[in-house]
């Protein structure tokens, strides 16, 4: 695939915070409709990549292209899901879900109408009027994801979305996301430090080194979709998992 057909292309992106060299030289591609994961040790600078994409900070070096042209400063291309769910405790679930629409200038009423049909699909029906503290961790993550996808941006940036959940809930959420992935035409970049999560969800995985981060491996996951948890036990998946672990621990 040529660079022009890429949805997102990072080339030689570098970033320093004062004396801290966070991103060494990061090059990452994402094609339209592709699910790509970034796997790396914590503190490597993974979230910093998202900061740069969303205009939270500027890269020192490198170029970033979106659909073939250079990414504008304050980008409206991405819908972000931050590491913690960042739900607003003072907003009801429905109003948390519509936050992005409200920022875009939609009236509360229009925004609510737009999001209403999705509650069923996200397993949140009946909880529209609840406050975040009344929901379980898994449900909160689904609200955060709903808040992300409802913005209808061209690409989803998911920063360790299930990192704070217990193992069982996390697996359930991964299964659920995989199912959603099959039904929607999303393009996503996922940050994770969970090897199985990366294998289960991704079409392609980039492995980052510790600071200053650079891409050490790029691994394809040719497992057929829709995927089920049992597929993780297949020889193919086990081989990729081992390869990833070796890549992470070897560097």
């Amino acid at each position: 695939m040529s660079a022009e057909t890429k949805r997102l292309a990072l080339r030689g992106v570098g970033k320093q915070f004062g004396d801290l060299n966070v991103l060494g030289d990061v090059s990452i591609d994402v094609a339209p409709g592709e699910f790509v994961s970034i796997l790396g040790p914590s503190g490597a600078g993974k979230s910093t990549i998202f900061q740069i994409l969303t205009g939270g900070t500027k890269a020192d070096t490198g170029v970033i292209a979106f659909d073939g042209s250079e990414l504008a400063d304050a980008s409206d291309k991405f819908a972000l899901m931050p590491q913690k769910d960042a739900l607003m405790p003072w907003r009801r679930i429905v109003d948390n879900a519509t936050l992005g629409l409200e920022v875009q200038g939609l009236s509360r009423k229009t925004a609510r109408e737009k999001v209403a049909p999705l509650f069923e699909e996200f397993g949140l029906a009946g909880f529209e009027q609840h406050y975040p503290h009344q929901l379980s961790g898994g449900m909160r993550q689904r609200v955060a994801l709903l808040r992300t996808v409802i913005q209808q941006r061209q690409m989803l940036l998911l920063d360790e979305p299930f990192g704070a959940l217990d193992a069982l809930t996390r697996t359930a959420m991964q299964q659920w996301l995989e199912r959603m992935w099959g039904q929607h035409n999303w393009t996503a970049l996922l940050i994770t430090h969970d090897v199985r999560e990366a294998v289960f969800l991704s079409d392609r995985i980039y492995v980052l080194s510790a600071r200053p981060a650079r891409v050490t491996h790029e691994i394809r996951v040719p497992l057929a979709r829709p995927r089920r948890v049992a597929d993780l036990a297949s020889p193919e998946a086990t081989r990729i998992e081992a390869e990833l672990l070796e890549a992470l621990l070897g560097t």
């Binding site: 931050p82 936050l99 920022v103 406050y131």
Partner: protein
């Protein structure tokens, strides 16, 4: 009606230790005042204070009203200006560095010395009282608000900016709501300062008010009346405090509270 019974039991569970202690103190005081031979003009018994409270109720109410008015207007001015200034220093950072030292110095001024001066400059009317109350409550309110803004979750701000929100929207959607619990903490602390400030201002000179009532009762060697007025001011403070608690409850329905069902 089992629900209301348990609510009552919960309430009793919360208040009985303090009520018992207060009852014990009052009882000890009563016993001491009656049987130690101390003169009522030195230490009146609680029962005598209550007696005087009842027989002087019209005069006390007459003097409590100006105190309540001064407290309410001074506090309203203080909260409003603290709110305006907190927004200013949140948007204009250099202003924070310029204003905070000045406000901190204002907090070091001893009220005992300042109150008579303010009365001297602005007379016996409402204005000096409002100013003194604002002086003692403005800074705690302002600090609470600024701390509240700064407590905003960084991811929440990042999220809003990624959605295309500018500074104004980030403030309205994240920073301001994040400050609400801090605001109420500040409110609860400063409302008690406000009553004390009002009484202090009246003590330094006023036509009417609990402060000046206390002063003249003291000069007439009537500690029973002083204590009756003290009781009134404590009652006013408690009512105002209770109002802030109720206000906080109704305006923050999202806060999970102890003993509340999920």
């Amino acid at each position: 009606m089992s629900a209301s019974t348990t609510a009552l039991q919960r309430w009793w569970h919360a208040v009985w230790p303090a009520s018992t202690l207060i009852a014990a103190i009052v009882l000890a005081w009563e016993v001491y005042a009656r049987f130690s031979g101390v003169k009522p003009t030195t230490l009146p018994s609680p029962s005598r204070v209550v007696e005087q409270l009842i027989s002087n109720a019209p005069a006390l109410a007459d003097n409590a009203l100006p105190t309540i008015i001064a407290t309410a207007s001074g506090f309203a001015l203080s909260v409003t200006s603290a709110f305006v200034f907190s927004i200013l220093v949140d948007f204009v950072r250099p202003l924070r560095r310029a204003l905070f030292p000045v406000f901190i110095i204002s907090q070091t001024l001893p009220l005992v010395a300042i109150a008579p001066l303010v009365v001297l400059w602005f007379g016996f009317g409402l204005l000096p009282k409002i100013l003194l109350i604002a002086l003692v409550t403005f800074f705690p309110m302002m600090v609470s608000l600024v701390q509240g803004y700064d407590s905003t979750d960084k991811d929440m701000e990042w999220l809003l900016r990624s959605m295309g929100a500018g500074r104004r929207k980030v403030f309205l959607l994240a920073r301001l709501p994040s400050a609400i619990p801090y605001f109420f903490t500040g409110l609860r602390i400063s409302i008690t300062y406000a009553v004390v400030g009002a009484i202090f201002a009246e003590y330094s000179g006023a036509a009417k008010g609990l402060g000046i009532y206390m002063l003249s009762a003291k000069n007439n060697f009537r500690p029973d009346l002083v204590l009756a007025a003290v009781f009134c001011s404590a009652f006013i403070t408690l009512v105002l405090f209770g109002m802030t608690v109720v206000l906080e409850r109704v305006s923050t329905p999202w806060v999970r509270r102890e003993g509340e069902a999920q």
